[in-house]
Symmetry: C2
Subunit: 318 residues, 2 copies
């Protein structure tokens, strides 16, 4: 199982290439959220999302001679951006297999980093990526179910523990579980008293179902506004870490995700993609118990949003 | 002339009511701006703008018995919000005279704080406010040409010097000159080596004209996208401070203000109103010389923006 030493190694490995993102006190959000609100702003990370942490740690862990054939990944956007950025940095080719539901902003961002984009149906994206890996010899970089990737994401947890050690609670967006595995492993070692919540889209409740069943359970794909959180099953390397470390995972409705995005933008002055706002949404929806005296940190995972996507917020209750 | 002791007193006076806003390193902006970019995020201040600093210091300086009749001010938005917030806090009535060009977002924000809004043509707003003051006995709180107000704004400068003492340069939005008077007085005392630039709308170049003339000069009102920077003449208390402390004031075109706003939002992930982006715009337009090794801090003065105002960014080159 992932351990804190792997995360500390990852931090040493990727530190020269990434930034320590700010952890911000957000007093203007307190009244609406009913707690002392903080955000860990990984939407301000290099490439605009936390995914660069895990992708870089994975790529930098591969022996030099194996890298010549490049890397390939399947991604709804930010992981592909992280892999492409790492590949560009090392001067190796990258291919990113994207679901045909991905927004043009995310596709353009990956092409701008020099990677080749292959589009397919969301359900097929891992098969297509593995086929490319077999045919070209490119190293497959999994989006979450990989200890190198999980350790890389965990570096955000080390930063949280260092930047604000007196937090009562951290809320983390959940899809396959790579991010929350890494962050929870880091926090259980560095700040064992902090409560850790996961927030996933109610339309794809793979973690609540799996935690009930005691093993990874497949749920069918449903379209959700949280379009970076569309994994259908927990990673089998991630699941036991979440089972052990995380206090609760909650299922958040799309409606509240958009309300949270509007609140964070217009009141908090921070632009984040819908998936990144799901932790704030969970509190707005009343799914996570918080008190006015509690310090609650929301992990804001990415900021890949185009102006056209902001129009949908006009009809949303703030 | 305004001195550092008045600013230190203001800091003690207003500290319980405001937040120390974050000073953020913004690496994603470096390439486009050609420097190491920082922002002082006063768009995250209580009420969403720095104006609360000066308004509160002025209101808290008035003897209790004089306050019964309330306060009145003339404002294009953020100063009115600051005065209204301070008045509400002390339980006294407030009237805000607003130019008829003010956005609905700004009007609504002031009404939500319990103040009465009176609308008039921009050129008449000070006359109308002074008339109300005479008729009702309400204390007039000037937006900038007042040492209590200037001292309050200067508290942001004390914070900058404490948060990032190794900055090479600070760029401050300029209208009547209250903010840059306060910040420059604080920085000349606390960090004398920092260069200080002012940025004003090219359509209302009251400071460059006045600095050339050696005295405050009136320029005619012109509509500008930087709608919080519409003073027609430097304050006579502000002008000598700017003359003494500020390295240069530059005149920025509206086109670049919008480009800067789009860059700060989509790449920096920070929402700020157009006027607040004028410092970044000045560097984008090539008006302020910066180098890649220089640490440049942009003062982001406010964040009163509605979603409808973001539509205009769609046609702007980023």
């Amino acid at each position: 199982m992932l351990n804190i030493e792997e995360i500390r190694e990852a931090q040493r490995r990727i530190a020269p290439y990434i930034v320590k993102t700010p952890l911000l006190r957000m007093p203007m959000l307190d009244e609406r959220l009913g707690c002392q609100a903080y955000i860990k702003a990984d939407n301000m990370q290099v490439t605009g999302a936390f995914k660069i942490r895990g992708a870089l740690n994975a790529i930098l862990s591969i022996p030099q001679e194996k890298l010549k054939s490049g890397v390939v990944c399947a991604s709804s956007g930010n992981h592909g951006r992280g892999v492409s950025y790492g590949a560009k940095m090392l001067g190796i080719p990258a291919t990113v297999v994207m679901p045909d539901t991905a927004t043009q902003v995310k596709i353009d961002a990956i092409r701008a980093l020099g990677a080749e984009v292959v589009s397919c149906r969301a359900e097929e994206r891992f098969d297509v990526a593995e086929k490319i890996s077999r045919e070209t010899g490119a190293e497959f970089i999994p989006p979450f179910n990989d200890e190198r990737v999980m350790a890389g994401q965990g570096t955000a947890g080390l930063e949280i523990a260092e930047q604000q050690p007196d937090l009562d609670c951290v809320v983390v967006p959940v899809s396959g579980g790579g991010l929350i595995s890494g962050i929870s492993t880091a926090l259980r070692a560095a700040a064992p008293e902090m409560k850790i919540y996961g927030a996933e889209p109610a339309r794809i409740p793979r973690y609540t179902r799996s935690l009930e069943a005691g093993k990874p359970v497949f749920v069918s794909f449903q379209k959700t506004i949280a379009d970076a959180l569309v994994s259908s099953i927990p990673g089998d390397k991630c699941f036991p870490v979440v089972q052990k470390n995380v206090d609760q995972v909650v299922d958040v409705s799309d409606d509240y995700v958009l309300r949270a995005m509007k609140l964070l933008l217009l009141t908090g002055k921070i632009l984040a993609e819908p998936s990144s706002c799901i932790g704030i949404a969970a509190v707005l929806e009343g799914l996570i118990p918080v008190r006015p005296d509690e310090k609650v940190c929301f992990f804001v995972s990415g900021g890949s949003v185009g102006l056209s996507q902001l129009k949908v917020l006009e009809d949303v209750e703030a």
